[in-house]
């Protein structure tokens, strides 16, 4: 005989109780008795229950769920077998009376079981004596197809494990009865004797996870737990969804997450096998840490604290764990291994976590419409062809195979063609590439990151310049390929054109529904002069800007309504602009100028209201200024300390990453073709000019005009390039991609507007305008592709080593004296020189060296003119031991050097002529002081590493570092700091007197990187702050509409 006692626990549940009570009352299988326990509800819960005729036991608000259930159990005596009515007591002996199976049906006040839920639950456990615990399929209260649970378990990191996907809809996909670890207490059916035998719920688990714990204990006691999918209940999850307060006594600060996590840890540690306890504790701690970081990023610091506090609260009270384990040990019948199969394997946990993260990202991205700027997306193509629709139809109506379908899509075919062309154009770049602006890549990205942290760079004459941020970004990006920087750089340059084509297409689709127009626009963008020039000349900065140009352009378009941006969007803009600044300071200046111009105009316009008798909106003005300032200052802050160096040396802000190339004039990039000549004009300026006089697309043309004007203005300057004192044109590739993008969008808008008008009209100027755009785009793209495949493929970027310094010159610098060599090469009528050290220059090195030092410049100039009788002496002071004049040797120069004195010809080979500099100093040398006349003796070499040096000196004298002077050089002798002075030829020197050598002469010379580390810390803080602000914030569960949760 089956008897059912329903125990309904209510706590401020008036919202849900009417449905719950009604559901209980209408069950197809009668409930023998219903007992309600109200834990101090302050709403109408008690009245509602009583009005339904349910006996209510009232307790305090602080009573936990388990205790409340226990109270109800204690208050309801167990059913015993009784005589059916009409039979005498003696007619049947006690032994023949049917056995009573009493089930406790524990129900939450926010859970409404379906009409047949109990019936199906009982059917699920019928004839299954081993089953002691059963639960229904839980669905959402509001979304009744939302599958919440079908049995529950616990992950080893404490997470509640249902094995379901986010917001999984119930389509019967899990409708097979299953053995589970536990079922939710929302509508839990449990044999009374088992419940009593196990002592009910653990009183330590006042709320949350008590179900898992009970299920675990039931299983350990040798019973089965099943989820019955035929039985359905609708659960509001009011407590976990923060729809009611958590008032249980042991809930610290009454925070649901804290309580849930604490109980999760407790359940794991109380029930798991002893040998797993250490690893479980560690895993709980680490996962709490990771989750708390996640919550911090999601801007939920309260949740982050909950995570950490929960684990800490459990771990600092081990006695509670051991007491709980003792209780469980007495109840356990099965070994731990019997339970293990009900815990989710780690692999599945990771996979599901990954999929949830991916889904979350997809959901986030799905909410955003990429590159959509216009308020009203064109509904129909101006060509009267709804390409998207056609494609859709092809897919769904013709039932072609996926491959065949793909081959009918223009974008796919075009992409294939471009990939094929990329292979042809990259025929000289198969392998690790370098050349042009791109220096050799180190094998590991970690080398770049190390370089980023260094305060002194042993390159040429040495440099303490701040390493640009882009070097760290590229180094970190190589992590995608396990740190293989060479491969990453090569792949990036291979993929640059296809990527920009794809991005350009996506960008264009925001302005037209026509695939053909979008493809034409994308190809005009991808094959534009700045991008092709960047690919063939190794301009990594331009290419990165080309990839984010759509976003930058979007920000320019929206800049006039900056006050409408949310603070998160402001932070995201700051991050975007920081990338622009890192990879193309000129592009950043263009953006800044645009904001400045708009700010000026808007502010003047606002104050101009006074003239019309209106009042200006000061709050609006302030909001615009604050948001603009935050974006620009944020971008600068994320790039400190390098960005501050740009402020101190503004000319450097006109350079892009890598070796600065002459000839890449901004005007040629704007108006010329990829070969950087004006043989064929670019389509962009033609489009811009036409669009400028068409009111509907003038806004885009004005942006293009603004960018081109600023870029042309920059072209007025001649600046010293990276790794060179040669005056060159500014690097404006990044800025010109913005111009190209603006012009192309103007062109698309122009076509969208003009084509419908010209279709039905007689020949007029609009026909010519459209023809001019079409022809210029076609010609530009064709000529660009031809150039790319022909001369462009032979551009400076190649997969061959371009470093042409003989090995013996390099070997010379690897000794402990660290001698340098001066290399002179004549190229195109110019004499170039460089100071060579112990290794070839690598990517990023050029951006750290700015010019030579004045003494060296004079020495080399004197060397060339023959006037420099001090040249050898100065070069020697700088630790330059060899002078190498490369082939083809300028005989006149060689004769001059022969005659100038101080240089002894060492060799003359096919590589060139080498002279030895008389009296060259080692990198670190000591000029001993003898009776105050240091000059009477020759200097003594002190060995050194690349930057630092340590050793012992025995005599007083002057220690000179043959490096460029920097006030962060330090020398400690016996831990006493020696004062730094600027010595002969401007070299850093330390005067070591007898007083320093009293206790021996152990010395250390190093470059003090404290300030660099300080700045980098600030940079990290700035980046982390803006990144966290920019990331989508997760809502507190209480803020999420209940319809989304259940």
């Amino acid at each position: 005989m089956i008897r059912v006692t329903a125990i309904l626990v209510s706590h401020d549940g008036a919202t849900w109780l009417p449905q719950t009570v009604a559901a209980l009352a209408s069950q197809s299988h009668p409930i023998d008795r219903i007992v309600a326990v109200d834990t101090g509800s302050t709403d109408d819960s008690v009245r509602l229950l009583r009005s339904a005729g349910i006996h209510v036991i009232q307790t305090t608000r602080g009573m936990g769920f388990g205790e409340a259930v226990q109270l109800a159990v204690d208050a309801t005596p167990a059913f015993v077998a009784t005589e059916p009515k009409g039979k005498s007591a003696s007619s049947a002996s006690q032994s023949t009376l049917p056995a009573v199976q009493e089930w406790l049906w524990i129900v939450h006040d926010d859970c409404a079981p379906a009409k047949d839920a109990l019936e199906r639950l009982l059917a699920g456990v019928k004839e299954k004596p081993q089953v002691a615990l059963a639960g229904p399929k839980l669905r959402g209260w509001h979304n009744r197809k939302h599958l919440l649970e079908l049995g529950v378990s616990i992950a080893t990191n404490g997470a509640r494990w249902t094995g379901l996907e986010y917001r999984e809809q119930d389509q019967g996909q899990h409708d097979d009865e299953r053995d589970v670890l536990a079922v939710s207490t929302a509508a839990m059916l449990i044999r009374r004797e088992v419940f009593t035998e196990l002592g009910g719920f653990d009183p330590k688990l006042s709320l949350f996870r008590d179900d898992v714990d009970l299920g675990w204990r039931v299983r350990a006691a040798g019973h089965s737990v099943v989820a019955v999918p035929e039985a359905i209940a609708y659960h509001g999850e009011a407590a976990s969804n923060e729809r009611r307060s958590i008032d249980v006594d042991d809930a610290l600060l009454h925070r649901p997450l804290l309580l849930d996590r604490r109980h999760a840890a407790y359940v794991l540690l109380a029930n798991a096998s002893l040998i797993y306890l250490p690893i479980l504790a560690l895993q709980l701690l680490l996962s709490a840490l990771v989750r708390s970081i996640g919550y911090l990023i999601a801007k939920l610091p309260g949740y982050a604290l909950d995570e950490l506090a929960a684990v800490a609260l459990v771990l600092i009270k081990p006695q509670e764990i051991f007491a709980a384990r003792k209780v469980r040990r007495g109840q356990r019948l099965l070994a731990g291994s019997a339970i293990r199969s009900f815990l989710p394997p780690r692999g599945i946990q990771f996979r599901l976590a990954f999929e949830r993260a991916r889904n979350a990202l997809e959901r986030y991205l799905a909410r955003r419409i990429p590159f959509q700027i216009l308020p009203n997306e064109p509904e129909r193509s101006v060509l009267d062809i709804d390409d998207e629709k056609l494609e859709e139809e092809e897919i769904f109506t013709e039932r072609k195979s996926t491959l065949r379908t793909l081959f009918t899509r223009p974008l796919f075919l075009f992409s294939l063609a471009v990939l094929f062309l990329t292979l042809i154009a990259s025929r000289n770049r198969l392998g690790a590439i370098e050349g042009g602006a791109l220096l050799q890549s180190p094998s590991s990205g970690m080398d770049l990151i190390s370089k980023y942290f260094e305060s002194w760079h042993p390159i040429a004459l040495g440099s303490s310049a701040n390493t640009p941020t882009w070097i760290a970004v590229v180094g970190l990006a190589s992590g995608l390929l396990l740190g293989n920087l060479k491969l990453m750089i090569t792949l990036f340059f291979y993929a640059a054109i296809p990527l920009t084509l794809w991005i350009g297409y996506r960008f264009a689709k925001g302005f037209t529904t026509s695939t053909l127009i979008a493809l034409a626009a994308a190809s005009a963008y991808a094959f534009s002069p700045p991008i092709l020039h960047a690919v063939t000349h190794g301009l990594i900065g331009t290419l990165v800007i080309a990839l984010i140009t759509p976003l930058l352009f979007k920000s320019m378009m929206g800049a006039s309504a900056i006050e409408t941006l949310s603070w998160r969007a402001v932070a995201a803009h700051a991050l975007l602009y920081s990338i622009a600044l890192a990879f193309s300071p000129p592009a950043f200046i263009v953006l800044t100028s645009w904001h400045f111009l708009l700010s000026m105009m808007q502010t003047l316009g606002e104050f101009g209201k006074r003239l019309r008798g209106d009042r200006e909106d000061l709050q609006l003005v302030l909001a615009r200024v604050v948001k603009r300032s935050l974006i620009l200052v944020g971008a600068i802050a994320i790039n400190v300390p390098w960005s501050l160096e740009l402020l101190a040396h503004p000319s450097r802000a006109l350079l892009e990453p890598g070796v600065s190339l002459d000839g890449a004039n901004g005007l040629l990039l704007l108006f010329g073709n990829p070969g950087l000549s004006l043989a064929t004009l670019s389509a962009a300026p033609i489009i811009m000019i036409i669009a400028l006089f068409r009111r509907d697309c003038r806004q885009f043309a004005l942006i293009a005009l603004f960018i081109s004007s600023i870029t042309a203005l920059f072209s007025l300057f001649s600046i010293a390039g990276h790794g060179s004192s040669q005056l060159i044109s500014p690097s404006l590739g990044g800025a010109t991609t913005l111009f190209i993008a603006a012009s192309i969008i103007a062109g698309i808008r122009l076509l969208e507007l003009v084509l419908p008008q010209i279709r039905d009209s007689a020949l007029n100027f609009r026909h010519f305008a459209a023809a001019a755009i079409a022809i210029s785009v076609l010609l530009t793209s064709l000529s660009s592709i031809i150039w790319w495949l022909g001369p462009g493929a032979g551009g400076p970027v190649k997969s061959e080593e371009t470093f042409a310094v003989p090995a013996f010159i390099i070997a010379n610098a690897t000794t402990q004296e660290r001698y340098k060599s001066l290399l002179i090469r004549e190229r195109e009528g110019r004499l170039l020189y460089w100071v060579v050290r112990d290794k070839p220059l690598e990517i990023g090195d050029s951006d750290i060296v700015y010019g030579s030092s004045e003494p060296i410049e004079e020495a080399v100039a004197g060397l060339v003119t023959g006037a420099g009788i001090e040249s050898s002496s100065i070069l020697g002071d700088y630790g330059i031991r060899y002078l190498f004049l490369t082939q083809p040797v300028n005989k006149s120069l060689a004769r001059t050097i022969d005659g100038i004195g101080g240089f002894t010809r060492a060799s003359s080979t096919d590589a060139g002529v080498v002279w030895k500099v008389v009296g060259a100093s080692s990198r670190i040398s000591l000029l001993p002081d003898v009776d105050g006349d240091a000059a009477t003796e020759l200097s003594i070499s002190l060995g050194s590493d690349e930057v630092a040096a340590e050793g012992t000196i025995t005599r007083p004298g002057i220690v000179t570092i043959a490096e460029r002077f920097d006030d962060r050089w330090r020398m400690l002798v016996n831990n006493n700091r020696v004062e730094l002075t600027r010595g002969v030829s401007g070299l850093p020197q330390f005067e070591v007197t007898e007083a320093f050598l009293v206790e021996g002469g152990d010395f250390i010379i190093y470059h003090d990187g404290t300030s660099r580390r300080g700045w980098l810390s600030l940079q990290f803080i700035a980046f982390a702050t803006f990144a966290i602000l920019a990331l989508p914030s997760r809502r507190r569960r209480s803020d999420v509409p209940i319809e989304e949760l259940s």
Partner: protein
């Protein structure tokens, strides 16, 4: 047109005009930027004047250097120190050895004289790699010697070739240590040769060579003079041949020529004397054999003012004129054409001879009392100008290229120097610190 239409078209016109103006502005910027962006304009050139060497042969003669100014920096040619110090006096007495004079646009001159016996002068210079000296003697009574000075900081290698009337007489290679000087007697190179020509080739190092010709008979001095060096050329203009000393005409003038190449040269000699230009008898179409010194006697009377000799040749030649009174002599050597010249005359009153197609020269004279005189000197082919008394510095600048030479006579003797710069302004493309040097 209705008012309504007018109100609509006005702003329409306005924004189009605005667009046009913006476009024109942008185009203007672009045009200016385009004109500014000529990369060739960015090639920087460096120019510097190398330091020169003023020789001092020692002995009992007095040697002074006429420096550009007392602030001119000098240093001992034998010192390894690279620091220069101000001379502090001008003329500067060379008491110990030769000096190195920091580069200046005004050349320095060394005057070596012995009271009542001789006076001689030469320009302080730095060797150009190949110097020709036509003069000196290896004969009896001659103590001519060539002084080679290495002012550089490394050992230099010098090759000296000597030629006489019969051809090449000797060759000597000298390894000269850093910052040192050495004298080589001409009679050791060309023993017995009456007239010699020397070619000093600097193989390596910073070398300056000077030839000092001194002659005597027994204890009697027959005079002395520096033989200035020059480069072989097909046209020699020997501007300032002294013609008078102590009021008397100098009777002996001999032209010595050598064809420096492998082929003999055919020369024509023209003499410009007291405004007349003529070819002396027998000096037309004369063959000068290769690597042999040919002596040609010039007329005894060359006029009252310093004479000029113009030698044109079919092959590169070097030459000089030997003028002697019997008690003193001078070597006049060719001068090169210049737009201008600066010279610290140090109180001398030389006669400057200027030779060109037309001579239009502006003379600026700075006197010892601080005053400055300017004078325009105009003439036909040859013009002579005597430097005013108490002059300190003269600066001559011509419209066209002019050959300048100077001669003067004093109680000690007479001499002649070509006003050639001791060194030339060295121009070269400024070397650029550029990592492009690393890549082939």
């Amino acid at each position: 047109m209705s008012a309504d239409r007018m109100s609509q078209s006005a702003p329409l016109r306005y924004w189009r005009v605005q667009s046009a103006l913006l476009l024109i502005g942008s185009l203007l910027i672009s045009t200016v930027a385009w004109r500014q962006s000529d990369p060739s304009a960015r090639v920087e050139r460096t120019a510097s004047i190398p330091a020169t060497v003023c020789p001092n042969l020692g002995g009992d003669a007095r040697t002074v250097a006429l420096l550009p100014s007392a602030a001119t920096k000098i240093k001992d040619a034998k010192s390894r120190k690279i620091n220069f110090a101000k001379a502090k006096s001008n003329p500067y007495l060379l008491s110990s050895g030769s000096i190195v004079v920091a580069g200046s646009e005004v050349s320095s001159t060394v005057i070596r004289s012995r009271a009542g016996k001789y006076t001689s002068a030469t320009t302080c210079l730095i060797g150009s790699g190949d110097q020709w000296f036509v003069g000196g003697s290896g004969g009896l009574g001659s103590t001519a010697r060539i002084l080679v000075i290495n002012s550089g900081l490394s050992t230099s290698t010098i090759e000296i070739r000597s030629f006489g009337e019969s051809g090449k007489t000797g060759e000597k290679v000298i390894a000269l240590p850093a910052v040192s000087q050495r004298e080589v007697r001409v009679d050791s190179l060309a023993p017995g040769e009456g007239v010699v020509a020397l070619e000093v080739i600097t193989r390596s190092g910073r070398v300056s060579a000077f030839l000092f010709d001194q002659r005597g008979r027994g204890l009697n001095s027959l005079g002395a003079d520096f033989v200035s060096s020059g480069e072989a050329s097909q046209r020699l203009v020997i501007t300032a041949i002294p013609v008078r000393h102590r009021g008397s005409a100098i009777q002996t003038h001999q032209l010595h020529l050598i064809a420096t190449g492998a082929r003999s040269a055919v020369v024509d000699v023209e003499l410009v004397s007291d405004g007349s230009r003529f070819t002396p008898v027998g000096l037309s179409d004369r063959t000068i054999e290769s690597e042999r010194v040919t002596s040609l006697r010039l007329p005894k009377e060359l006029g009252k003012r310093p004479a000029t000799l113009i030698v044109t040749s079919t092959e590169p030649i070097a030459g000089s004129v030997y003028s002697s009174t019997g008690r003193e002599f001078a070597w006049s050597t060719p001068s090169i054409s210049l737009k201008g010249v600066g010279w610290n005359v140090g109180g001398l009153e030389p006669t400057i001879t200027m030779v060109g197609k037309t001579v239009r020269v502006k003379a600026l004279v700075k006197l010892r009392n601080g005053k400055t005189l300017t004078k325009n000197l105009n003439g036909a082919e040859v013009l002579q100008w005597k430097v005013p008394p108490n002059s300190r510095l003269i600066e001559l600048s011509g419209l066209d290229s002019i050959h300048f030479g100077a001669t003067w006579s004093s109680s000690d003797g007479f001499t002649s120097i070509p006003l050639n710069p001791g060194t030339e302004l060295e121009r070269a493309t400024t070397p650029t610190f550029d990592l492009g040097a690393l890549f082939g």
